[in-house]
Each structure stands twice: as C-alpha cells, then as structure tokens.
C-alpha cells in the first residue's frame, strides 16, 4: 500500500469512527451488551432491561 492510500485510510478511519460511533451511541447501539437470548427474552439481563424500558 502506498503512503497516499495509507493516509486516506487513516483519515477515513478517524472520521468514520467518530461519526459512526456517535450516531450508533445516540441510536442506542451497545456492542458490550452480553444479552444474547434475543429470541427467548427471558434471561435476567433481558428481564431487567424490560423493566428499565417499561419505566
């Protein structure tokens, strides 16, 4: 990869990370969420989440 491409990629990475990260945070994306029982909805995390959401 040439220096020019590397520079472009680094710049894009910075903009993408800041823009994408903030938009995702605002929309409520949470990749650390350990809850994986999306279809069952009955695990402890889910129950607590539901309680919080319904408040």
């Amino acid at each position: 990869m040439s220096n020019k491409t590397m520079g472009a990629v680094a710049k894009g990475m910075l903009i993408g990370a800041v823009a994408g990260g903030s938009i995702a945070y605002i929309s409520g994306m949470d990749i650390t969420c350990k809850c994986r029982c999306v279809r069952k909805k009955f695990c402890v995390i889910c129950k607590n989440m539901r309680k919080i959401m319904s408040r």
Binding site: G12, M13, R36
Partner: protein
C-alpha cells in the same frame, strides 16, 4: 468511573468497531475477493440450512442427533457433490460450449436459409430484420468468446486461476463454520441492534426467513429439478448440447412467468437448424416440463405463494429488467417481497407506537 447510562462503557468499544468498519469499507476494492468468498460462504450455508435440518431429523445412525453432527454429514455430502459436479458436469458443458462456437458458423446460415424459405417476400422487411438480429447476435457472441479464449490461453489465466482456487477453498471452509455456528452468528448480528429495536428486527427477520425459504431455497431447488428434467428430455430427443440447454433452462426458470419461455428460445432455434419437426418436439418437451412444474413440483416445494398479486409480479419483473437487465429479471421479485415486508412491518410498528 460512574456516569449516566454507561456512556464510556458503551461508546469506547463503539469507536474502534466503527474505525475497523470504515477501514474495511475504504479497502473494499482491494479486499473484494475476501468479501466475495465470505458472501458466497454465507449464501451456501443459508442454502444448505434446510439440508442440515433434514439430516438432523433423519440421522438415525447416531444416538444423539446434534446439529454439529448433522452439519458434518451435510458438509461431507456437499463436498462430494461439488467434486462430482466439477468432475462430470463441467467438462460436458465446456465441450458443449466449444462445439456450439465451432458450429455457429454452420448453424446460422441454416437458420437464415430456413427463414428465407418460410417468410414470403411480402414481408421482406421483417425477414431482413430477423436475419440482421441473428447475425449481430452471432457476431457479438463470437467476439465475447474470442475474448474469453484469449484470456484462457494467456499467462494471466494462471494468476486468476490460483486466485480463484484460494477463494473457492476459503469459501468452502467458511461455509462449514457458518453452518456450525449459525446461532452464535445470528445472535451476534441481532445483538448489534439497539435493545428497543430487537423485537422489531427479530420479527422482521423471521418473516424474511420465511419469504426467502419459499422463494430463494424453493426456487433454486425447483430450478435444479427442471434443469435435470430438461437435460434428460433433450437427451432422449437426441438434441445436441442437451446439458448446456438444460442448465440454461433451469437457470432461466428462476424468473417467474417469463423464465420458461426464455429458456426454450435457444434450444428451439437450434432444433430449427436441424429440422422443423424436431423444433416442434423440443417445444412440446418444454411445454410438458413446464406443466409438470406448475402442477406437481412447484406446489409441493414452494408451499403457497408470496401473497403478491400476479399483476404486480409481472410489472416488477418488467421494471427489474428495464433497470438492471438479466440480474434484474431474477432478483426483482425477491427484492420487492423483502422491501414490502420490511416496510409493512415498519409501518405497523409505527402505528402501534403512535396509538
């Protein structure tokens, strides 16, 4: 550090995640091969999923019918089938195509002579137009094939071939992992969505899964059967290049309503070059296969329809063809069904939230 709503806990992992996503997007041209392999593997795993379920249900030779074992069995069957197809079917197709190219110079004058004979001189313009179309099609096809031939005999072929082989092997290995870790991957993908969207996303995904099972998996399976039926039928009729025409017929069967006719055009024209009676026989064969498909095969495999009005299907196919050509013909209806499903779910969700 204590903060409201876990700000740092949430945003700190998001930044590198999006940084990586952006890099992957910026390098998309250089990494195209990798993306194609991954996409092909995901598609194959999706296509083989019903097979895995079937094997798991009927796997009576093991005590515990786990998904892992079913995946292993399916994968072995798949690899064997792949090897079989490459060993037996590909050489036939290649030799058929080469033969057609060599014979095109012979067939085209035959057909034009036949047209000269059947269309009287009163319709001189129509005749000239038809002959022109056939000749230009032949010229275009010859140019394209010469191009492919030039690539095939040059050094760059070996470079491309090694690239393709690495890609294919990667895709096959990835297919196994996609099949084995299906639930983990799906949960990971669903986990990416914000919590309040997940009900909507999982519901929509379920519905889309049903649509695609009907359309994509069902259609491709039906097309395989149709292709084989047509190949066998053409073989029995003693037509040349039957495997090639059968495959084209099966492939064009992916297009609703128009597909069977598109698939029949080439074999009928070729048969016309041999004798008009043969052309009639070929036409009859295609009609019979289509009737068998409509009455016995499709209703069994594709249970029910997508709930789209036939008129809409025809308009959508036509629009797809105008916009995106051949690929538009094939993907128009599934894309329309997907968009319709997502939109209707979304609107329903909105109206529930509003009330």
């Amino acid at each position: 550090m204590k903060d409201a709503g876990g700000f740092s806990r949430k945003i700190i992992p998001l930044i590198p995640f999006f940084a990586i996503l952006t890099v992957l997007f910026l390098l998309r041209k250089k990494l195209a091969g990798v993306y194609i392999s991954v996409a092909a593997a995901a598609f194959l795993a999706y296509m083989l999923d019903p097979v895995v379920k079937f094997v798991q249900k009927h796997m009576n030779f093991v005590r515990k019918k786990t998904r892992e074992k079913a995946v292993a069995v399916t994968f072995i069957i798949f690899v064997l089938a792949l090897v079989g197809v490459t060993a037996f079917v590909v050489p036939i197709i290649v030799s058929n195509v080469i033969e057609i190219v060599e014979k095109a110079d012979e067939i085209v004058p035959k057909i034009t002579a036949y047209l000269q004979k059947i269309i009287s001189d009163e319709h001189y313009e129509i005749k000239q137009k038809l002959i022109e179309i056939i000749n230009s099609a032949e010229e275009k096809a010859t140019a394209k094939i010469n191009e492919v031939y030039n690539i095939a005999t040059s050094f760059s072929l070996y470079e491309k071939l090694s690239e393709a082989i690495v890609g294919i092997i990667t895709a096959i290995v990835l297919t196994y992992y996609f099949m084995r870790d299906k639930t983990h991957i799906l949960n990971g993908v669903f986990g990416l969505f914000p919590y309040r969207w997940r009900d909507f996303v999982t519901e929509t995904a379920d519905e889309l899964g049903m649509i695609s099972a009907k359309f994509v998996q069902g259609q491709i399976f039906v097309s395989l059967i149709i292709g084989s039926l047509e190949t066998v039928g053409l073989l029995l009729l003693g037509m040349p290049y039957s495997a090639f025409f059968g495959i084209i017929g099966g492939f064009s069967n992916l297009i609703p309503y128009f597909g069977p006719f598109i698939g029949a055009v080439l074999p009928v024209i070729t048969a016309l070059g041999i004798s008009p009676v043969k052309a009639l026989w070929v036409l009859a064969l295609f009609l019979i296969v289509q009737q068998i498909d409509n009455h016995f095969i499709s209703p069994k495999i594709i249970e029910g329809n997508l709930g789209i009005h036939p008129m809409v299907v025809i308009i959508v196919i036509f629009a797809g063809q105008e916009l995106f050509g051949v690929w538009g013909l094939i993907v128009a209806v599934p894309v329309y069904a997907t968009v319709k499903c997502i939109l209707s779910k979304f609107i329903k969700n909105l109206s529930i939230n509003l009330h």
